[in-house]
């Protein structure tokens, strides 16, 4: 009977053109439009300026180490080196600064005058890295590798305390964001809408129309009805996200920098969480109308504030506090971290605990308040 129930729900879903459109086609159209607008491969072809003002030995050493990123070590595949297409240029500070502001450069490394002298005389000194935050995929990446280079050069200077440090400054140019950034957001959006529109609303309809009541008049155990319902949504959710990722990968070669297994794990967690949230909505909404109202009330703020379309860090402080309460924020953050190594908002542990928490609390509350009959 589980199989029959599951199949029946599939048929009901697959024969519903609107549902199909919104769960599968809509996100794909979305990606395609953004992909064509923002296109681009997964290799970095960003331009970086280097201002070398230091006359001593350490400055040039640093500069060439950074420029060396484009070189692929012998015996390795140049295609695997994500930095091999980067362009470096040297120049004076004011020229390169203005290029960075215009968006002609995506990052700028400034090695200040007197760096070597200062370090040799025992005074710590730092290089400055300015990164354009609008290229969100590249910025954290580049910061990271420059940080590593600075550290290894520092260790080459035999001093007990770190002498050479790095300072990061963010700038924001007028550059558009890449599709890589958008894909985790689209995934998160689709998962949330699966919970709201494909879980809550059909369940409310099944109750108000008396379908649940009819099932209850049979020997079918209630838990089996619910489990098949969840299983069916879980399948749609996984299918939907996998299609989005696959199309993104095939058509636009979007970045998946983290492990696929971790990605699937995070997807699974957030799908289950939003199914649970959907059930909670179905539990508290008495009519289809109030169900619609509640889902929209949840959908819109989360869709626009949780980092799907623009980063949470750009929001005013008070809004950030609000956004911290949205489960979608944690979904977007965890997916961005695993897919594009975006600068984290929360640690993975926080993302895990918060989403698990929502899952558990929503499940418990749904079970507590769920009604099988309209009145």
């Amino acid at each position: 009977m589980f199989v029959q129930l599951y199949l029946s729900q599939w048929r009901e879903f697959a024969r519903d053109r609107m549902a199909l459109f919104f769960t599968i086609l809509f996100p794909l159209i979305f990606i395609s439009i953004f992909g064509l607008l923002y296109g681009g491969g997964s290799k970095f072809d960003e331009k970086v300026g280097i201002v070398l003002e230091d006359q001593g030995p350490i400055g040039p050493q640093l500069a060439s180490a950074i420029e060396g990123l484009t070189q692929t070590p012998a015996g390795q595949d140049a295609d695997k080196n994500v930095f091999s297409d980067m362009k470096f240029s040297r120049g004076n500070a004011s020229d390169l600064e203005s290029q960075l502001q215009k968006g002609d450069l995506q990052a700028l490394v400034i090695i200040p005058a007197g760096l070597s002298d200062s370090i040799i005389s025992g005074k710590p000194m730092s290089v400055t890295v300015k990164v354009d935050q609008s290229s969100q995929v590249f910025a954290p990446f580049f910061q990271g590798v420059v940080g590593n280079i600075v550290q290894s050069v520092d260790q080459g200077i035999t001093q007990s305390k770190p002498m050479l440090t790095m300072q990061v400054q963010s700038v924001l140019s007028s550059q558009i964001r890449g599709i890589d950034l958008l894909i985790p957001g689209i995934l998160a959006m689709s998962i949330m809408q699966l919970g709201l529109f494909a879980t809550a609303q059909p369940m409310i309809a099944m109750r108000t129309q008396g379908v649940l009541k009819r099932f209850n008049a049979t020997p079918l155990p209630r838990w089996m009805l619910l489990v098949s319902y969840v299983a069916m949504r879980l399948t749609i959710g996984l299918l939907q996200t996998i299609i989005i990722i696959a199309v993104g990968k095939l058509m636009f070669d979007v970045a998946i920098l983290g492990s696929i297994v971790a990605l699937l794990g995070w997807l699974l967690l957030s799908i289950l969480m939003f199914i649970a949230i959907g059930f909670f909505v179905a539990a508290i909404a008495k009519t289809e109308e109030s169900g619609n109202a509640i889902t929209q009330l949840i959908n819109f703020p989360m869709l626009f504030l949780s980092g799907v379309f623009f980063p949470v860090t750009g929001l005013p402080d008070w809004l950030q506090v609000v956004v911290k309460a949205f489960p979608l924020t944690y979904t977007v953050d965890s997916l961005k971290q695993v897919m594009i190594n975006a600068p984290p908002i929360n640690t993975p542990l926080v993302n895990l605990v918060v989403q698990l928490g929502w899952l558990v609390v929503m499940t418990v509350l749904s079970i507590r308040f769920f009604k099988w009959e309209a009145r």
Binding site: M1, V3, Q4, L5, S8, Q9, R11, E12, R15, D16, Q209, G210, V211, K213, R214, N216, A217, T218, P219, L220
Partner: protein, 304 residues
Amino acid sequence: MTAIQVENLVKIYGPLRAVDGISFEVAKGEVFGMLGPNGAGKSTTTEMIEGLRKPDGGNIHVLGHDVLKNVEPIKQRIGIQLQTTSLFQKLTTRELVKLFASFYKNTLPVDEVIGLVNLEEKVNTASKDLSGGQRQRLAVAIALINDPDIIFLDEPTTGLDPQARRSMWDVVSNLQKRGKTVFLTTHYMEEAERLCDRVAVVDHGKIIALGKPQALIHDNFDETALEFSNDEQLPENLLASLPGVERVQNENGITTIYSKSVARTTNALMALVEQQQTELRGFTIRAATLEDVFLKLTGRRIRD
């Protein structure tokens, strides 16, 4: 052997006693009907027997099992058609019957059940594309899939056109021939008279008459009904004083005269009409029906 035994059943909704102390028994193989107007408490009673609603008082036994203690064993042996059944919209007749078949231990073949309700031509039609009567028959097919001992039909013909209604009556008659116990509710007295071995007439949550339809009629009436619509408002006291007349009832512009002597009353009535220089429209002479019983007991018609 009793199929259903109900004692002093009570269901209270806020200030309303929707079911107010109902008791009856249904024998195996019997077609038992609950006849009453909308809101009389038919569905509430039916669904309490089916184990879908909890009573506030009373006892229910179905096939010897105490429904209030444990409905699960009974669920395998009863078939239920709810007053409004809504199913997955986009599944076909066969798919839906098959789905419900998967819930039961013992089932009839899917196609046999579809044949029992004459839906062979609609096996591949999505339930949303069925007509009202066809959807109702699909609901009955699903109620029959586990070859139940008792079939509950809650207003199976309400809202159907006369032809669809007749088709449903055939289905019920066939069930009776197969020896099934049928519990049905209706607000059509004709349906109750035609299909039911025994009828409980209910109003405001109470049984006001219980028995074989013909017996109910004879117990309440040895009169014949003369009925006409009376635009000219022939005075009731004049009509009541005509020879042979037992009672006169005026309801929604329709006058019913119950007479013990049809010939004498008719003659006198015609004379009266001529003398008043008026016309009788829709004049009929008919035997009393359950509708008349209801009218006599409550002063209202079943359908208003």
